[in-house]
Amino acid sequence: MSDPVPQEAAVQDRAPGTVHNERGSVITYLAGLGFAVVLTLASFWASDSHAVWAPAVPILLAVLAVGQMGVHVVFFFHISSGPDDTNNFLALAFGIFVVALVVFGSILIMSNLNANMMPMDQLMQMQR
């Protein structure tokens, strides 16, 4: 308690994975582990069980996976939307944007090419 200034000065920026108040961090990691285990078990259960309407299962799996990634980011990386976290948060948002472009763009383009490709037997005939 002798010099509160250096601690408070850290408000301006924060490295990912670090926390200010050390207390409660074990609780944070425990909560993260609990959420992650529950979401994982839910994913494995949903892929096997017939309790969920079958066409909805892939969407449910995607939602559970995104939720679990969010749990990891919040409880293990300690990324928040607070003012001392702006840089980390913006970098994360840009990363998600690029990943989404690459993944969905590739799938869209490749399925479009696949749909427009000439059937294989016709292609073989043309080559003769």
């Binding site: 301006q12 670090t18 582990l33 996976a65």
Partner: protein
Amino acid sequence: MSSTNALTSPVDREDQIAISERGPASREVVAGFGFWLFLLSDIVIFGALFAAYAVLAGRTAGGPDGLELFDKGNVLIETMCLLASSFTCGLCSLAIERRNAPLTYLWAAFTFALGAVFIGMEITEFIHMIGEDAGPDRSAFLSAFFTLVGTHGLHVTVGLCWFAVMMAQVATLGFRDAVVRRLLCLTLFWHALDIVWVGVFTIVYLGAHYV
């Protein structure tokens, strides 16, 4: 800095100084942020591999498909190993914050052991698949599978080596600033592997039904 500024709290002073006139951020923040950017770019690489897998997952060229090859029980155990190792890695970073060397070694050892179990199970799975003539040369699906899962496994292996190196550094150099920064980066790296694995088990192993 002691009594003259008693009226203005540090937070107020922060707000009064323009961002451009504040000094540079501490080295911990710069190193952490830089490594965060590296991790995000690493995840972009994985994004490209995921895209390749999603496009090629159905192209089995008459060979075995995912449903025949994958053992979900094994994958669940692997996942639990990684999750538990992420938790022990978090406890390790708390021990590092308190500069507690014995606890740091203990939790790092747990993390290392769980990671080693994970990588052992994955290598066993790969050897088994290659033995069944389902290696990466069999079909486009299997090429994409081995590239994606193998790259993740390679990252885990690098993380294990990094853990060994860092524990040696804690033993010889102690908790000096540079070592603590490297340990921060290592724990971030380990947590990032877990995030990628969530994508792997969902898309590759559980998604095998929907190819």
